[in-house]
Homo-oligomer: 254 residues x 2
Amino acid sequence: MAAIELHYWPTIQGRGEFVRLLLEEAGAEYVDVARRKGGIGAMMRFLDGEQPGALPFAAPFVKVDGAVVSQTANILAFLAPRFGLVPDDEALRAEASQIQLTIADFVAEAHDTHHPIAGSLYYEDQKKEAKRRAQIFVKERMPRYLGWLEDVLARNRESEGRWLVGRDLTYADLSAFQVVEGLRYAFPNAMVRLERKLPRLVALRDRVAARPRIAAYLASPRRLPFNQDGIFRRYPELDLRAPRRTSRRRKAKR
Amino acid sequence: MAAIELHYWPTIQGRGEFVRLLLEEAGAEYVDVARRKGGIGAMMRFLDGEQPGALPFAAPFVKVDGAVVSQTANILAFLAPRFGLVPDDEALRAEASQIQLTIADFVAEAHDTHHPIAGSLYYEDQKKEAKRRAQIFVKERMPRYLGWLEDVLARNRESEGRWLVGRDLTYADLSAFQVVEGLRYAFPNAMVRLERKLPRLVALRDRVAARPRIAAYLASPRRLPFNQDGIFRRYPELDLRAPRRTSRRRKAKR
């Protein structure tokens, strides 16, 4: 197998990070094309339809053995069997895929907290709407999605609640790790409260972070830091208030 | 194979309709469970985790040969090979999946035009934000997604632009049909203008509508009508203005 080409925006984790995590855990030979000189141009030629193969609607996409494969969940489902990161069983593969797709929905909603009107407008031009949307995201959607992941872990007797699907680690676990990391960055106060009720998911996050290849990746310059251009952004006005600071303020007022 | 169970909300087309179209074109033996007496309760037992198998985050989901499979695109990818509605080739399967997932993103954005803040709030409580979001959806996102589908058709030499993937009809074509139908219902004025530049996609829509099993389905009571509870809703204030009416008004003003 020739080196896998990953095409994604070079300055953010974004949706590409789910693919990077799979490639890193797999120890795969890959090139993060757009992070090389001239790489953005190479990526754009695919998006502009100047390359043969399936036409991606957007990045990320990968080129593997001549095939161009796009849409994050589809990329992961395509690559995972090559590296033993999903079971052979058809029903378990479908379960990994449904978890990944639910995580994708969750990630899209997380993105829309800061861009509820349009991705093409600045945050500042939709800040009022962002506050409204984020409030409901934090209070209703985060507990619902995260609680569902916790339930999926609790139900998986095959791994005694250690992994989401089957007996061993799959790409869905890597993605769950990334979601927890992203939410900790974007909504630290909300996460502190929610994590108390998510012991299995937090343990899963730690288990993934401790995998030798993942740990090496996270410590390397290949792992981009979270920033204010990605999907997960830290706008304190969209998060819950910090519980401690609030009580200190209350004291001061008295 | 025992009859396939489809579980979805019984009064709307919604995301379940993509699965219904596949089952109908396949001539599959299936039960639309929640449309039977007591069927919503049966569906809820899966969503509440009271049934074995993978835990669906939301409907639609199907039960097939003992497996519970959720997330629309995943359901379609799981069922299609059983009925010859996707090629055997791995790269072409991945292409069908990426088209379906892009359609899923498009559908989610169409939904959010009337619910930009939260699905749990009434339209009336987010009407102002809906107008802002819909304006950009109609002007930027609809042309972009629909133009991409048109491009995918144009690039597919294997079918001479008749189908999206490979030589024959796949489930992605059924889904493209459904998107055109939904947008015609929700945004009739915008679609009249856009369709002029989408000859291949409109021809694909007609080709799908003319398939004997699809035609029979659309004429049957099994096909629910579009309505104001589904994903695609007709709020004239979110659509473009009708070009004719506008010009008449202009005349009257003179």
